[in-house]
């Protein structure tokens, strides 16, 4: 099926040429040739897929609604980093409201989804925490009698974890007993700092698990990128390029191998004919309509964006959304209910600085213990507490204090905190879902999603238990005060599950290789394919799965059905 690759100019582009091409790509002609593979979304999974496919010699076109971001745009080196981080660089698109965003109806969700739309996707603002899922995460039905098993095991994914860790440059320490043996991260861990060392010692006394957190943040120069300088502004964009984002780690290589990345291109729907995808309709920034033809379509628009596209791609054959014979497209949305437990210490820990990112993690209470009254558990990640504005405003854990004592409270908190972030496993629930909103649209008129999500009883009990245990950790470490914040609204960092994978077409949207059960040349490679959420930060797993999917696609290319 797939033609040989069309090398784009056949050579590495110097940066000036690259910049020129980026400009040109925002203004492409209306008529497009058929690509071997069309990818929708240039974020984490889109970048990984594009690089592999282009390096394998296939012609790749990617449509991305956002644009390229130059590192100089990020506000981390400017005094206004904290206030622009609450608006222009805020991770919720409804609040941010940039031209490349699409709005969400969030009236019926307990947790507001977070994302970024641009080349690099949500990685532009992510924290860079890069842990793998654990073996039990793939088999929760067998082990704990809840939810569903994945159609693959940790061991099957392990080589892809190792390869993607090498691609992005993960820093960490080999030998974590929370995982089976295998290759460790390619780079040494990032510095823990005084606060994390206090907590590591406390866990040592308690006999609890802790380990340096793996982060996709460089502790050493790596593949032409500079190491982390501990500036602590990772979630406003990394000015150094030390945090791995696919605009740095994958897109340049994909483009070098001929991939065409078209920015400012909003995909409205995937088009099908005779049961196969033929390409996608998209609109440019001025609202002009285009069609990109392709032999294979790969959705990488994240769990909300991919569900939105499928639900918008209705036809008479697919009145409830494309590839939706299971009725599960958009359903089983998981977002990891989150709590934070902040310990305040007497000494100045300079906790406005350091990777933001985590320093250490704990899986001590990760596995199910039924005596606790809930199933599954949470991963803990320890982070600094932020700059002065964050600590003076009552946005995170803690009460506001105005009047003369404001200064005392501020002094007590600023620079002296360490915060355990608790990511609870979110069990899938078909009622938690993405729908298409009746009236809301993006700036070019494409119907926008509505998010319907309620935090389940299991999650509430789970977080209560973990808050208690994390408080014990802080007190053992010497914290004189512990502040907690449970079920934060703006904590939908992890968007998962709306096109789950599985062996049975009646109960899953894509198969174990990310391919639609209904449309054999349509794939999903983003977090939508997750069967269960685990309690870990998901991007390392999204990356590993994306690589596994496209590798299989290339291996099987001669039997791939494509439109004539």
């Amino acid at each position: 099926m797939l033609r040989g690759g069309e090398l784009y100019m056949g050579k590495r582009l110097p940066s000036v040429a690259l910049a020129r091409r980026r400009r040109q790509e925002s203004h492409v002609a209306t008529k497009q040739d058929r690509a071997d593979v069309l990818i929708v979304g240039a974020g984490a999974s889109g970048g990984i897929a594009a690089r592999y496919l282009a390096e394998a010699g296939l012609s790749v076109v990617c449509l991305e609604q956002g644009r390229w971001h130059d590192r100089s745009e990020f506000r981390g080196t400017s005094p206004d980093w904290e206030i622009t981080g609450r608006k222009q660089w805020f991770p919720n698109p409804t609040i941010r409201g940039l031209a490349q965003d699409y709005p969400l109806n969030e009236d019926e969700t307990d947790i507001a989804p977070l994302m970024f739309n641009g080349v690099g996707g949500s990685l532009i603002l992510y924290a860079g925490v890069w842990p793998r899922m654990l073996p039990s995460d793939f088999k929760v039905r067998t082990l704990d009698g809840v939810a569903d098993d994945w159609p693959l095991t940790y061991e099957e994914l392990q080589p892809y974890y190792e390869r993607t860790e090498a691609q992005v440059g993960v820093s960490g320490l080999e030998g974590d007993p929370a995982y089976p043996p295998g290759a460790g991260p390619p780079l040494p861990p990032l510095p823990l700092g005084t606060g994390a060392m206090k907590i590591a010692r406390a866990h040592d006394r308690l006999g609890w698990h802790w380990w340096p957190e793996p982060n996709a943040i460089l502790s050493r120069p790596y593949q032409g990128r500079r190491p982390c300088v501990q500036s602590g502004t990772c979630q406003q964009g990394c000015n150094e390029g030390a945090k791995a984002t696919t605009d740095l780690t994958h897109w340049p290589m994909a483009i070098d191998h001929g991939a065409r990345l078209i920015t400012g291109a909003r995909v409205r729907r995937v088009v099908t004919e005779n049961g196969l995808a033929t390409g996608a309709e998209w609109l440019d920034e001025d609202g002009n309509e285009h069609f990109q033809s392709a032999s294979v379509v790969v959705l990488a628009a994240n769990s909300i964006g991919t569900a939105r596209i499928l639900l918008n791609s209705t036809t008479s054959a697919w009145p409830d959304g494309l590839a939706n014979s299971s009725g599960l497209v958009g359903r089983r949305l998981m977002m990891h209910p989150f709590a934070s437990v902040t310990g305040l210490f007497d000494e100045n820990l300079e906790s406005w600085q350091g990777q933001f990112g985590c320093s250490i993690e704990s899986f001590e209470f990760y596995e199910t213990d039924e005596s606790r009254g809930f199933v599954r558990g949470a991963k803990w990640g320890l982070a600094p507490t932020g700059g002065p504005i964050n600590m003076a405003l009552p946005a995170r854990a803690g009460e506001s204090e105005w009047g003369p004592d404001h200064h005392l409270l501020f002094r007590e908190r600023f620079g002296r905190g360490q915060s355990w972030g608790l990511f609870g496993e979110d069990l899938p629930n078909e009622d938690n879902r993405i729908e298409i909103d009746d009236t809301l649209t993006d700036p070019v008129g494409i119907p926008a999603p509505k998010v319907i999500y309620k935090v389940g009883e299991n999650s509430r009990k789970l977080l209560d238990f973990h808050i208690e245990k994390a408080s014990e950790s802080m007190i053992e470490a010497g914290a004189h005060k512990v502040e907690t914040d449970s079920l934060m609204r703006y904590s939908g960092w992890h968007l998962l599950g709306t096109a789950r994978m599985g062996d049975d077409p009646a109960t899953s949207v894509v198969d174990r290789w990310g391919r639609s059960h209904d449309i054999p040349n349509l794939y999903a490679v983003d977090g939508s394919v997750f069967v269960t959420s685990s309690g870990t930060n998901p991007t390392s797993t999204i990356a590993a799965l994306a690589l596994r999917t496209v590798e299989h696609m290339v291996e099987e290319r001669y039997s791939q059905e494509v439109p004539v």
């Binding site: 206004d80 206030i83 088999k139 007993p177 089976p180 510095p191 300088v229 501990q230 504005i389 405003l393």
Partner: protein
């Protein structure tokens, strides 16, 4: 940054004065720290904030242009209850103006988000004293994961 979201910031004199008054109420001079009003949260620091966050201007203007501030505490409480978005804008403008002031940085011992010299990431900083010994003890305590079940057990 104002171009980024395309709104020109402008607030009137009443709003500026009200911010100063409320600023002095929320963050007064005490414990060796200056008040928010004296740090310019209604004047120069407000301009600094609005240059980066022009979207705050209409919210501040709407809440404060005609504000009666006989009882400042009561005004702030009512604003919080009746218009949380405007209340958020007022407190953010005051807190941001105050804590972005270089003199306040000096007083609270905050150097800004300074990049640490790459040397900081030398072996000594990465493998801090005790780190490897502590990690060895975690390994000694044994695996904490449940292995993948045997395929026969899988449902």
């Amino acid at each position: 940054m104002s171009d980024a979201i395309g709104i020109r910031p402008s607030v009137g004199e009443n709003t500026r004065r009200a911010l100063e008054t409320i600023g002095d109420h929320l963050i007064p001079e005490a414990h060796g720290m200056p008040s928010a009003g004296t740090m310019g949260v209604g004047t120069t620091q407000l301009d600094v904030v609005l240059a980066s966050r022009p979207d705050l201007a209409p919210l501040l203007e709407g809440a404060l242009a005609d504000a009666k501030l006989d009882d400042i505490g009561d005004f702030v409480r009512r604003l919080e209850a009746e218009d949380p978005e405007a209340h958020g804008a007022v407190t953010l403008a005051i807190v941001a103006g105050y804590y972005m002031h270089p003199e306040v940085h000096e007083l609270i011992g905050y150097p800004g988000q300074v990049p640490k010299d790459a040397q900081r990431l030398g072996e000594r900083e990465i493998y801090q004293e005790g780190l490897m010994d502590l990690a060895a003890k975690v390994i000694e305590r044994g695996p904490v994961y449940r292995p993948t079940p045997n395929p026969d057990e899988t449902s």
